[in-house]
């Protein structure tokens, strides 16, 4: 239970980090999708159930603070969590190329769905060409670093709890 709580806190921290990153370290006003990479990390490491549940919760957070149609990020992150969870035993999550490619493709997937839903529900596109070019590349470049940091954090948490076998 404590582990799930920690995962929740990590989601919250990465959400805040994403908001701060856009504010302080943007490239042409665009920030990376840190939350998306964290969901990919959890899904690849802990399977589809954790992936999709945490995807749903973090999507809900993002929906509240993003300008997209409410429910879009929930929908996207749930699918991403599920797909990555299903791939958890099929791909090497430690491989940097895998981390980069998955992040790149899934950012494009996210942008595509947001574009589609905004066209359907808002009859207007909220996606700019900057989103299409910068966001996926920025995210995939940062992905290995985020994976590494998450590894270190999880390792430290395991040591703190001293219940490695339970995690």
């Amino acid at each position: 239970m404590r582990f799930y709580l920690v995962l929740g806190i990590l989601i919250l921290v990465s959400f805040v980090l994403q908001l701060l990153w856009v504010q302080y370290l943007p490239i042409f006003g665009i920030g990376p999708q840190i939350l998306l990479v964290v969901i990919i990390y959890f899904a690849l490491n802990y399977g589809p159930i954790i992936g999709e549940i945490y995807g749903f919760i973090s999507g809900l957070f993002l929906d509240i603070f993003s300008i997209s149609v409410f429910g879009t990020q929930c929908f996207i992150f749930t699918i991403i969590g599920y797909i990555n969870g299903m791939m958890s035993n099929r791909v090497d999550e430690k491989n940097i190329r895998v981390q980069c490619i998955l992040s790149l493709l899934e950012t494009y997937f996210q942008i595509g769905i947001v574009y589609l839903f905004s066209k359907i529900f808002l009859s207007d596109s909220i996606i700019s060409y900057k989103d299409i070019i910068i966001a996926p590349i920025y995210t995939s470049v940062l992905a290995p670093g985020i994976f590494r940091i998450m590894d270190l954090i999880i390792l430290r948490i395991k040591k703190w709890f001293g219940k490695t076998n339970q995690i």
Binding site: P48, E52, F56, F75, I79
Partner: protein, 275 residues
């Protein structure tokens, strides 16, 4: 059979449930409600009118209680703005009253004089000596001539400032009372004794050529005597602040504080003789 099937496809089942919830959220069209709520949260932290306007525009998505908070805050801000405006207007009103009094005073002076009055604004002081000269924004084009007396109104009283010395087309340089080059024929108002007022490059003036037998006291008012061609009689110059006797055989000296404070002159009036 059924129970065995569900655990096997548990992730897929959860996915379907979560996707259904997501699609419901999309279908309920909560976007505007969430946006309005978000604007409200932003407004709480940063109450700017633009956000208030957005909230009021989408008032149907927000509860009446939350809306009343925004409305009250906006009303309060508007009232404060109006109060500031009124305070500013009050200051302006006081300024107009002061100016009105000053102009009335000047009108009174004009009645008793055979002079035309030209008003002008001070545009600069002499950069090397604050007590030497000032420049005004009127010149030859406005009818100003050389050697015309210049006065101002300070605290509802007329006071001598100096005289015009260099007149250009649009500006005029005025030699101040306090400059060493200016000497004004004057008299002690109380006794009528004639004397001469000279500047010495400081904020004080020197009263000279007052006979030893003349009685002069500290606090006596000094006005122009009207001797000579330039200054009309009776224009206040200053107040005696110190008397020096015994230094010379025939004359007394005194220190006079000018009525006009050099650093407070912003508007002057040039007296032009009517031919």
């Amino acid at each position: 059979m059924k129970w065995k099937y569900i655990p096997e496809h548990k992730p897929t089942l959860i996915l379907i449930i979560l996707l259904c919830i997501s699609i419901s959220l999309l279908a309920f069209n909560l976007t505007k409600k969430i946006w309005t709520l978000r604007y409200f949260v932003y407004y709480v932290f940063n109450p700017v009118p633009e956000l208030a306007l957005k909230i009021i525009d989408n008032s149907k998505y927000l509860s009446e209680n939350l809306l009343s908070i925004v409305k009250l805050k906006e009303e309060n801000r508007e009232l404060k703005e109006r109060l500031n405006k009124l305070l500013f207007m009050e200051t302006e009103y006081n300024e107009v009253i002061t100016e009105n009094k000053r102009l009335k005073e000047l009108l009174e002076l004009k009645k008793g004089l055979t002079y035309d009055i030209i008003s002008a604004r001070v545009i600069s002081h002499d950069p090397f000596n604050w007590f030497r000269a000032i420049t005004i924004d009127k010149g030859h084009k406005d009818g100003i001539v050389v050697d015309a007396p210049v006065v101002t109104v300070i605290d509802y009283q007329i006071a001598l400032v100096g005289k015009t010395v260099i007149v250009d087309e649009n500006t005029t340089r005025i030699l101040l009372l306090t400059d060493t080059l200016l000497a004004v024929p004057a008299k002690v108002l109380r006794t009528g004794d004639n004397c001469l007022i000279q500047g010495n490059g400081t904020p004080k003036l020197i009263l000279d050529y007052l006979l030893q037998e003349s009685v002069i006291n500290i606090g006596d008012e000094i006005v122009t005597s009207g001797i000579g061609e330039i200054y009309p009689s009776g224009i206040p110059i200053g107040i005696v602040t110190d008397i020096k006797t015994g230094e010379e055989e025939y004359f007394k000296h005194a220190i006079v504080k000018p009525k006009v404070a050099i650093n407070r002159i912003s508007e002057v009036f040039i007296l032009k003789k009517v031919k």
